[in-house]
């Protein structure tokens, strides 16, 4: 009996010590590490892209293909997608989404492989759809189709439009994030892979890899707001770059083997600390979670600009909860940095955007720059007001 009590005591002590160690490690991960910084590149406004509006529609979730073709949902017509050409600055055509996709699946964003193979990502967090250029449904996948049971235990994070998949047509493989559904309130997901590679035709999962790292691993059952809790994924050839909204590091995996190859600190010269996550019971208090979201700095997804072989990572700076009027801060004046990185993720510049010019999730990567959606400086005669920024050497 004595041995039994001793075993419980020792086990309790180990758990308690581990928790203490994790909290200490978490605190250090929330602080920006020293990163090498070579300030040689800037991003400047090149051109205002004005597409004349021929209707009063509001366009949502714009996505760009090959730097020129822009697809966007029409807010007022739930089943319509509009196509614009950025070069000719014109509305090309609209198409209707297949009625086979249930009405309740609100459209979130796209991954455009080509204009006849458009992956549609929706609020249905267990399914991905593939459409042809006329909106017809070619195929759909649910986590259940991929052999993951019981159903709905894993979700795709693509109800958040800042997340996306990648499709390699040569290998017929889809690279996606697939997150346990009990996340983020449970601490029992530390070892669960969050990335999946599956064959588009056979539905067979080739590889599962990428359990939470860094802050997300060490936070245990503490919580961040939902949309700041999912991993961002960027696949370029055999490398998949995983980053998190509240982690200074980028984790680079070999997506053939699933092995974490290296991690690199990619942080702003101004953002030194992230706030501590909240106790898990706070997740029920949506206002408290939103207040955290309003105030905290956080990173956007890592972008790759293929023509110039550069990466960018935007970070929104912290802000006060409320404005002078007592209203919550909407972020209209939020400061944002875009960190510019070379092909090895070495920091080679940082450009600051003030007064909310870089809106949250309001930019799309181009092969040689960024397209920022603007609600400033344009009138309502333009369908998708946007500003094209390009990389230039910094003049000190």
């Amino acid at each position: 009996m004595y041995r039994y009590y001793l075993l419980i005591f020792v086990y309790g002590l180990i758990i308690s010590c581990n928790k203490e160690k994790n909290i200490t490690e978490l605190a250090s991960l929330l602080t920006a590490p020293n990163a090498d910084f070579r300030d040689s590149l800037d991003i400047i406004l090149n051109i205002e892209v004005k597409i004349k509006a021929d209707s009063n529609f509001t366009y949502l979730r714009p996505t760009i293909f090959s730097d020129t073709i822009l697809l966007a949902y029409v807010k007022e017509k739930e089943n319509i997608i509009s196509i614009f050409n950025l070069k000719t600055k014109s509305h090309v055509r609209d198409f209707e989404i297949s009625p086979l996709i249930q009405n309740r699946d609100k459209y979130s964003t796209f991954y455009i492989h080509n204009l006849d193979s458009i992956f549609m990502l929706t609020s249905n967090n267990t399914s991905i759809y593939l459409l042809n250029g006329n909106g017809g449904l070619i195929k759909s996948w649910s986590s259940f189709d991929l052999g993951i049971t019981p159903p709905n235990t894993y979700i795709f994070p693509y109800f958040l439009p800042q997340h996306s998949i990648y499709f390699n047509s040569k290998t017929n493989l889809v690279y996606a994030s697939l997150i346990p559904g009990y996340f983020p309130t449970s601490s029992n997901f530390e070892d669960v892979p969050q990335q999946v590679v599956f064959n588009l035709a056979s539905n067979i999962i080739k590889l599962k890899y990428g359990p939470p790292e860094g802050v997300m691993k060490m936070k245990g059952d503490l919580v961040f707001p939902g949309d700041l809790s999912f991993p961002y994924s960027l696949t370029i050839n055999e490398a998949t770059y995983i980053s998190y909204p509240l982690d200074h590091f980028v984790y680079i995996y070999n997506n053939e083997t699933g092995i974490l190859v290296e991690k690199k600190a990619v942080c702003s010269s101004e953002i030194k600390n992230f706030p501590f996550p909240l106790p898990s019971e706070m997740i029920k208090d949506t206002q408290a979670m939103w207040n955290f979201r309003v105030q905290t700095p956080f990173y956007e997804p890592l972008n790759y600009h293929s023509k110039v072989k550069l990466f960018t990572r935007a970070v929104h700076h912290p802000q006060e909860l409320k404005e002078m009027s007592g209203k919550l801060n909407t972020g209209k004046r939020r400061r944002t940095s875009v960190i510019i990185l070379d092909s090895t993720l070495q920091i080679i510049g940082e450009t600051f955007f003030n007064d909310g010019i870089y809106q949250i999730n309001g930019a799309v990567p181009l092969s040689d720059g960024l397209l920022l959606y603007s609600n400033k400086g344009f009138n309502n005669n333009h369908a998708i007001p946007s500003l094209k920024y390009e990389f230039v050497p910094k003049i000190n």
Partner: protein, 167 residues
């Protein structure tokens, strides 16, 4: 046997259980923000109101969840002199729009098409029930679909009988 007092008792027990389990949603922590919202957006001074219940209903997001709320409001006859529905955002689904029109004919409505409520610290995220009497907050409850079935009867009691007199 008169089932009505038993229904009230059992429903209140359930309500108190829900409140007890999830205190963050049932208290009036964000009432000041709600008052500010009503005064700045609708020029409505809540302290001059008698016994009022505000039912804040988001029209965007999950259509299925919205339908459950709309059906509840259409099926049950809540006391329309006491209840004000605040509709936030916009919805372009034809079936839902027809239900919204029916609700507009049945209850007093305040419309917030631009989602201005998000600029205030009101505790709003899911449908929100705020019970106010002479400027005091009696109850602020965020409604979850899972609990709506339980809440159906509780609603009726809150709205038509009043909660405070039974606690």
């Amino acid at each position: 046997m008169n089932l009505y007092p038993r229904l009230i008792k059992s429903s209140l027990f359930l309500l108190i259980s829900i409140m007890g389990c999830d205190n963050s949603k049932s208290n009036c922590r964000y009432y000041e923000g709600f008052k500010l919202y009503l005064s700045q957006v609708y020029d409505l001074d809540i302290s001059t109101q008698g016994d009022r219940i505000f039912y804040v209903l988001p029209l965007e997001g999950c259509d299925e969840c919205l339908q459950i709320n709309l059906n509840l409001l259409l099926e049950r006859n809540f006391n329309s002199s006491k209840v004000t529905i605040i509709l936030t955002g916009a919805n372009f689904n034809d079936i839902i729009r027809s239900k919204i029109e029916a609700i507009k004919r049945k209850y007093p409505i305040l419309e917030d098409g631009k989602n201005l409520i998000h600029q205030f610290e009101t505790g709003f995220g899911k449908p929100l029930l705020v019970h106010v009497k002479n400027g005091d907050c009696l109850l602020q409850l965020q409604l979850q679909i899972k609990k709506l079935k339980v809440l159906r009867n509780i609603y009726w009691i809150i709205v038509n009988v009043g909660l405070r007199s039974y606690i």
